[in-house]
């Protein structure tokens, strides 16, 4: 992860287990599962008993079995999409008591959506333990038409709704769980720098 001069650009310090938490919820994708395995290796068996993993990713059967083996004996719920995983997280947070610790490991959109969901249940973003693994792709909001563009890998990127070419800024909204995309050729229409694959 590159450092940024933009203060709102999130940083992800890495996963550490909260051995005192009454329950732990970990949201992860395939790449993040490696970080989760490392987390579990630093915790005790009581931690594993109190922990639920939401694995939100499209997985082949053999990957699914490999992850289940690697993260055993922790209960893993597999969800085919990030949206399904986040919906399940919100279900678990609804009505949960204090003493719950939330973790997110994987892509930035996954971490951002976990932090956003946590915020909706008054969980302070600093108390959520996060680790970025795998792809650099971003979730971007077009500041002009407010459309969210998922899985952005290039800068600039065309807005999927209004078609404006957007400069993807490090300027991040925790509330929206998205980086901000602004019109790149506002001064001289058509003056667009070459597209770079920055977020593979």
């Amino acid at each position: 992860m590159t450092l940024s001069t933009i203060k709102s650009r999130p940083i992800y310090p890495g996963l550490t287990p909260d051995l005192n938490a009454r329950s732990n919820i970990i949201v992860s994708d395939k790449a993040g599962a490696e970080a989760v395995a490392e987390l579990l290796s630093r915790a005790d068996s009581n931690f594993a008993k109190r922990t639920t993993i939401i694995l939100a990713d499209t997985l082949a059967d053999k990957d699914r079995q490999a992850i289940a083996r690697e993260l055993a004996p922790v209960t893993i719920e597999f969800h085919a999409t990030l949206a399904d995983g986040i919906a399940r997280l919100r279900q678990l947070l609804d009505g949960a008591p204090m003493g719950l610790r939330l973790y997110a490991a994987g892509s930035e959109p996954l971490i951002g959506l976990v932090v956003q969901a946590g915020g909706d249940f008054s969980i302070d973003h600093l108390s959520i333990r996060t680790e970025h693994r795998g792809t650099l792709m971003r979730r971007v909001q077009c500041v002009h038409c407010k459309t969210f563009i998922e899985n952005v890998t290039t800068n600039p990127v065309k807005c999927t709704h209004c078609g404006i070419t957007l400069l993807v800024r490090d300027h991040y909204s925790r509330r929206l769980a998205a980086f901000q995309g602004v019109c790149i050729d506002a001064e001289i229409p058509g003056d667009i720098p070459p597209t770079e694959a920055l977020y593979q």
Partner: protein, 320 residues
Amino acid sequence: MSGNILRRVRVAEVEPVANRIKRFRFVDIDNAPLSEFSGGSHISVVMHSGDRLMRNPYSLMGSPTDTSSYQISVLNVDPSRGGSRFMHENVKVGSELEIGQPLNLFPPAKLAKKHVFVAGGIGITPFMAMMNELDGLHADFELHYGVRSLEDGAYCKYLQSRYGSRVNVYRQDLGQLIPLETVLSSQRLGTHMYVCGPKPMIDWALQAARLLGWPDENVHSEQFSAPPPGKPFVVKLARSGRDIVVSGHQSILEALEENGIDAPFLCRGGACGQCQTEVLACDGFIEHNDHYLTEPEKVSGKKIMICMSRIPTGSITLDL
């Protein structure tokens, strides 16, 4: 910012509210409106006791939107460094005092779903203003208030009549203890805990919350301790070349102020970090009495919080 914009006030009311506790009400000297404040704020009160100058922090306990007066409660501490005894013995209705602007280092978390207040003795005062404010916002809160006895605990009846079952009083003389583990075990996600009282109680509450898996971000505490006394020593000011003697009952900050030196400060209780000062040289070791510097910073001996900390003897050179 040195936080020392002062306002002259007149004491409009002094009321004994419990054993060794008096409530003071201040109005502006010209009856001008005071600033509104936020629940959890404190003011410093300037006291000239003999040839000594002290500025002690006290939590504001009245209604945050009442600009006609400020109220504080003062426990006559024994042994006192002089501040609380001065308030109890020398300050009467009609006395004039100087106070600083309200400062808040202990605000309730605005996004909390619920607030759990844990108070011991005189530690009730910041919560009185907080509950007043939160009640007006229809926020969810509960108070757990430990007192030695009903004679020693201030405002028990008032709080119970005003807030009903949201107020829980525990009497040490009846062997009642705050059942903190039970209280903290059954709170909904998004609850914040606040503790104010004697240091052992604060440590106990913070530890209980941590062991129940409460994130640090949901746990808040405030403690104003007086600077512990010691032996006299000398502060050498590197920039002005002056030598200032700090007496046994003074803090470095108080000694500087007595000599007309404007040093930065806010809370005067070792909590806020505003008076952090660089140490250029020091005889022996620093007695760090603040709860702001990290352990490594304290061990390094390169920084000192001049409102609380001192050296046993000799001299210390500061970047001032």
